[in-house]
């Protein structure tokens, strides 16, 4: 039980009148990258937002370590050590890169060692340090969003589709960065890009229509093309 850093147990979430999550259960082990795969509209983003308390679970439980965070305020969830990188990156465009980073630091000051590590991972962050964040490219904004998440030690980082719209060269840089980050932090990664997810994830769940359709090892899924076809084209078949 204690090996899991995050557990979702039969989580149901509504958005307005729509019932989006229909009893999602996940067990995310400590360390490494856990991947949540699924098509557009399957409930991936809703799962992350429900974990962060941005949308409330109507039913079920979300447990982070030994804390039941189901009804906690988003800010309290973040203070427990969970960072969130949303799909739109959540960059404050009118603030400088430095100000974006400073906001993510609890004290407003930087740990120089961590900052050097971030600069080594993403040189653009250092290069554009005093520039407004709106002036960054899409890839650089993603780097800033991830840098913000690791400017302090976090126990869990929730990342929503970081490769969306990025060039292959930047995606390769992201893979290296995520591998390094995952050495001392758990990452729950939401993705549609299976090749990217396969290169990082040790465990995977596939979500479809608000339900977990499969959970297991990434190696098992990567090696079984029949399973991939069944799971990753599941909704396509189901919705035709």
């Amino acid at each position: 039980m204690s090996d899991y850093i995050l557990r979702l147990d039969d989580v149901h979430t509504d958005i307005g009148q729509y019932h989006i999550l229909h009893g999602v259960s996940l067990n995310v082990p400590e360390g490494g990258v856990y991947v949540l795969l699924g098509r557009n509209g399957a409930g991936k983003t809703t799962t992350l937002r429900t974990i962060m308390g941005l949308w409330r679970a109507r039913k079920g439980a979300i447990v982070f370590r030994h804390h039941d965070i189901t009804t906690l305020h988003t800010s309290a969830i973040a203070r427990l050590g969970i960072a969130y990188v949303p799909e739109n990156m959540g960059i404050f465009g009118r603030l400088t890169v430095e100000e974006n980073m400073r906001l993510a630091s609890t004290t407003g000051r930087f740990d120089e060692t961590r900052l050097k590590r971030i600069h080594a991972l993403f040189p653009a962050i250092e290069r554009f340090w005093d520039k407004p964040a709106w002036s960054l490219s899409g890839g650089q904004k993603q780097m800033l969003a991830i840098s913000r998440a690791i400017i302090e030690p976090r126990q869990l980082i929730l990342i929503d589709e970081p490769t969306k719209g990025l060039a292959p060269a930047i995606i390769r840089a992201m893979i290296d960065a995520f591998r390094e980050i995952a050495a001392d932090t758990t990452i729950l990664l939401v993705e549609q890009n299976f090749l990217f997810a396969r290169s990082l994830g040790s465990n995977v769940s596939v979500i479809d229509d608000g339900r977990i359709a499969h959970s297991g090892g990434m190696a098992e899924l990567a090696a079984d093309s029949a399973l991939q076809t069944r799971l990753l084209s599941l909704s396509l078949d189901a919705h035709q």
Partner: protein
């Protein structure tokens, strides 16, 4: 393209009030009249800035349409007038210290009322209707009507005369130009508040949080901050600034009535809209433009005086639909 870049480097839209002053000079024809109108416009602009800056931040950060904002302006004016009347002996004393003590006691009392009433207003009136613009409009207009009735019940329906401290009476004569001392004081008080707000927003952590919150509230919460507590603080500060602006306006007008806030609300909304939501710099620009435009047009084309600020808003929104210096564009 090249001209545009040069203008941006020189200050861009920040130059608009200066451009307006330059254009007005030949139209007015007389330098002394132009100088008097310009000082009056700048002073008026600064007072409207005090009232509008809080509303702009509340609008930008909290996405709240607060039509009750003018209640703080009215109460600020009446409370200041009452304190000034109670301290009449200090006001007339031949002592600069006592004069200023009376004035700052009046402004301080108004601001203190704004802080406390702002806290109450946010908790009781606004909090239940966050994210619901229609209900916000209805409930804040309702609160404004109640506030106006309270003003009538407390101070009566007759216009209330407002005394000025002796030190701020009269004018300074520079050649042909007569400049009211009160207007100079109002200008510098507004400027001081602007600098204080600017430094708070740009040099402090709380300011960083407010600027970030104006852009993306959800992300600020995801970084571990309670944006609702920031909301209360900003709402209280905005209400205190409105009350302070009302206090200064009372001294400027010399005679106030319960409808004062409602009349000023239109100007305040115009300033917030043309300045751009959530932006202190935009509020200052918008307020100065409104103050100058109102004074110039009343002198040059008296028949257009009432429409001048609406026309200004129309022109600016056609040019920049999000306002001159918006902090948010969605």
């Amino acid at each position: 393209m090249k001209t545009g870049m040069t203008l941006e480097r020189l200050g861009g839209v920040n130059l608009l009030p200066i451009a307006l002053m330059i254009v007005a000079l030949p139209l007015i024809g007389s330098f002394s009249s132009w100088a008097t109108l310009t000082v009056a416009g700048l002073a008026m602009g600064m007072m409207i800035f005090l009232m509008a800056s809080g509303l702009s931040l509340v609008f930008g950060l909290m996405d709240v349409l607060n039509f009750g904002h003018s209640a703080f302006i009215s109460f600020g004016a009446f409370i200041a007038a009452t304190v000034l009347a109670a301290l009449a002996a200090w006001m007339r004393a031949d002592s600069v210290t006592l004069n200023f003590l009376a004035l700052f006691a009046a402004i301080g009392a108004a601001a203190l009322f704004g802080l406390v009433a702002g806290w109450f207003f946010e908790r009781v009136i606004v909090r239940p209707v966050y994210r619901d613009h229609l209900r916000q409009i209805l409930i804040t207009i309702g609160a404004l009507i109640i506030a106006e009735q309270l003003l009538l019940a407390i101070w009566g329906g007759s216009p209330l005369p407002v005394a000025r401290p002796a030190i701020l009476e009269g004018s300074i004569i520079l050649g042909d130009v007569a400049i009211e001392v009160y207007r100079i004081f109002a200008f510098f008080l507004g400027l001081t508040v602007f600098v204080a707000l600017y430094l708070t927003l740009n040099r402090t952590r709380i300011g960083l949080l407010i600027r970030a919150g104006v852009e993306n509230r959800e992300m600020v919460e995801s970084l571990g901050f309670r944006i609702d507590r920031l909301f209360i603080a900003v709402f209280m500060a905005g209400s205190a600034l409105a009350a302070m602006g009302g206090a200064m306006w009372a001294g400027y007008q010399g005679l106030i009535s319960a409808s004062l806030g409602g009349e000023l609300l239109v100007l305040v909304f115009i300033v917030v809209i043309i300045g751009g939501l959530g932006s202190i710099e935009g509020s200052l620009l918008g307020a100065l433009m409104v103050g100058l435009m109102g004074n110039y047009v009343a002198f040059i084309f008296p028949k257009l005086a009432l429409a001048s600020n609406m026309l200004l808003m129309l022109a600016i929104l056609l040019w920049r639909p999000w306002g001159l210096r918006p902090a948010i564009t969605h």
